[in-house]
């Protein structure tokens, strides 16, 4: 018997030795290697004698779900990697990630990153470059090319890949079929244009119970000051072939086209429920769940809570349609919001950490997470399968087309370490225009000026 087996774990194994002698010898040999853990050799993926422990900082929305359901499933295949997932509130995740990434003795090996964050961390050099540094630990069957281009690009920066999509999301249009039928309007199709949609909006403000008071409105979206408000008019701009920035990252939205796009978002407020000017993410969703608005523009991941769960919504899957947002001259629009998983450069167990990410984003893992947890896949192969949950079928279809149009029109937030700062400026000015404090033209002019100043530094 080898030496490393004479540990606490070793004794436990000795009990089971009679049953699996050959395995014991194998693990003992591996164990001697895994004991000396260092980043240089990736720290291994653990052995029965010496488990590898990795920790992940994840967004509150799914950390618990992953810990309770996903980790046990992962452990069926990799029993010697112990995974701990801590939830961190969304607003602090990036800052805490930065603190951990620069820690000589880091607490975390992995992080989930929201769509615009990768450049900020990658620039500082705290993330593993997965297609290069992690190649020796990449499973041969891990198929990079199977990912849709749009979700994969969210964790890419400067031509390098720093993460893999774990929970994908796109801005979508949900519509309430009953409310459309009530006013005799045809159901929206992906071909519906923004101008057609604006023209229909007044008739969707209606009195459904005939008591003389308006009780249902046309639209809900994020109008409140925040990072998620500008993507709406950005989508309008993108759908007409416009872009926020040119190739040299100079603002290119202060144009007639840009002003018209922002004006669309401002005008839609007229057909929204009272108080909609302060609608953030949850409020329009709740109005939709209550059957008070005919359509909303929101993250696709909200579909389940808007249409399926009777404890949360008053609607049913039959009643709720999902598709890409209305079209412009270049076709339908959307906006990307991907949660990616990345490995910290200072991790002591990058191999195990990358193994977990590979498993989660592999063909097999995606099918499992989609069918068990209901989260959205990024792979073409997964989207081509028939989902186990029936309500996912129309969602898959919408998602696939959203990926395609997002990739074509670059429908995402600016790819720069200054992404968050830019978004804050856009948020201020979008909100000022929505409230009528300033005209759409002046708002964009001011935003363009401030962003130019910001990027000059």
């Amino acid at each position: 018997m080898n030496k490393p087996v004479h540990t606490r774990h070793g004794r436990l194994i000795a009990v089971a030795a009679a049953a699996a002698l050959s395995l014991l010898i194998l693990t003992a040999c591996d164990g001697s290697g895994a004991k000396e853990t260092s980043a240089a050799d990736g720290g291994g993926v653990g052995t029965a004698a010496a488990h590898v422990k990795i920790t992940m900082m994840a967004n509150d929305a799914f950390a618990q779900q992953w810990q309770d359901k996903l980790v046990p499933e992962f452990n069926k295949e990799f029993p010697y990697i112990d995974v701990i997932i801590d939830s961190v509130p969304y607003t602090e995740l990036l800052a805490k990630g930065m603190l951990n990434g620069t820690d000589p003795d880091p607490q975390y090996d992995l992080i989930t990153l929201d769509d615009p964050w990768t450049p900020q961390l990658a620039k500082v050099g705290v993330l593993y470059e997965l297609k290069k540094d992690a190649t020796p630990w990449t499973d041969k069957s891990f198929d990079w090319s199977d990912f849709n281009a749009a979700p994969l690009a969210s964790s890419e920066w400067d031509g390098k890949q720093y993460g893999v999509p774990l929970r994908s999301n796109m801005l979508m249009m949900f519509y309430n079929r009953s409310l459309y039928q009530k006013v005799g309007l045809a159901e929206p199709t992906p071909e519906l244009t923004w101008s057609q949609y604006l023209k229909q909006a007044p008739s969707l403000v209606q009195d459904t119970d005939g008591d003389g008071k308006t009780d249902s409105w046309a639209v809900g979206l994020t109008w409140m000051r925040g990072a998620l408000s500008p993507p709406v008019w950005q989508a309008v701009l993108n759908s007409n072939g416009g872009a926020l920035f040119d190739k040299d990252l100079k603002p290119s939205f202060d144009t007639k086209q840009g002003v018209a796009a922002l004006q669309t978002q401002v005008d839609l407020l007229k057909y929204a429920p009272p108080g909609a000017a302060n609608y953030n993410y949850t409020e329009p969703l709740d109005a939709f769940r209550q059957g008070k608005v005919a359509s909303i523009f929101t993250w696709g991941s909200a579909y389940k809570s808007a249409a399926v769960d009777p404890k949360v919504t008053r609607l049913t899957p039959e009643e709720v349609g999902i598709q890409t947002m209305p079209a412009g001259s270049d076709g339908p629009s959307t906006h990307r919001g991907i949660w990616s998983g990345s490995v910290f450069k200072n991790s002591k167990h990058p191999q195990a950490a990358w193994t977990l990410l590979q498993w989660m984003s592999s063909k097999k893992g995606e099918v499992w997470t989609t069918s068990t947890l209901g989260s959205f896949p990024a792979r073409k192969s997964t989207l081509a399968t028939a989902p186990t949950q029936a309500w996912l079928a129309p969602v898959f279809k919408a998602l696939q087309s959203a990926y395609d149009v997002a990739d074509k029109g670059q429908m995402w937030r600016p790819r720069t370490p200054e992404s968050n700062a830019i978004q804050e400026i856009l948020a201020d000015q979008t909100s000022a225009a929505v409230q009528g404090q300033t005209s759409a033209a002046d708002a964009l002019k001011k935003a363009s000026q401030q962003i130019t100043d910001l990027l000059k530094k």
């Binding site: 929305a61 003795d105 949850t282 209550q290 949360v312």
Partner: protein, 298 residues
Amino acid sequence: MTATAERTRERVGDIPRVQRPTVGRRSRGERTRIWSGVIVCVLFLLPLVWMLLTSFKFQRDIFTTPPTVFFEPTITQYVAAFKNAGLGPKMINTIIVALGAGILSLVAGAMAGYALSRLHIKGAATIGVLILVSRGVPPIALAVPMFLVARTLGITDTHITLILAYCSFVIPYVMWLMRGFFLSLPKELEESAMLDGCSRMGAFFRIIVPISAPGLISTFIFSVILAWEELLFALVLTSRKAVTVPVAIAGMAGDTEHGANWGALSAAGMLTVVPVVILALLVQKWLIRGLADGAIKG
């Protein structure tokens, strides 16, 4: 008023006597005053009543027109608060941290407040004001350096780190309140004690502290509340073992996938209120009385 408190008060001759509930018939003005007080209190509690109702609703029943008070009640949200957000252990963390910060700050702050009020130390007044002003520091300016220190010492994510961090804003507060309190005590108290052979420290702990018990207790309650609801330091300094309830609540509110569930948030909100209300009810007698004895003098 307890018997001991009564006795100490009598010993301290010149402290103004506290108004006592009048026995017998009240004047009309007095009755109006009582009822106005009750109405104002009820008005202030109305949002909390709404929160209580919301905490027993299914999510689909929270937003309705018109707002409803008749609905199918459920404890789902409380179960969710404990199960999904792991509120149980976080509540224990919060209690440990809030009490720890309260006690440590009370001891250190009361001693310093005493020094500032009675010992005529040169420059003490300036120090006092500077410490007071430090309460206006944007907390974000302290949180990150604190984290870096804790990281170097290897004590991130521990109760003691959070307790120490909370001292940064609770001690100044205790100091300021207790300084005013001590100013109102008659000087002869400790002087006579010291002539009897007590050291300064001895006089403080044997004479001043017992007399000031009501003031200390009310200051303690406010201190605990300050630490109880603190979010920013907790966010930066904890990650798993020492996470407090406000952090868990912030996470629930920022659900980027399904939107905030106001039912679960209300349930969590109600749960944070309960321990403090119990504490307040237990000591409510001193809550005002402590301050009444001259807590703040410029």
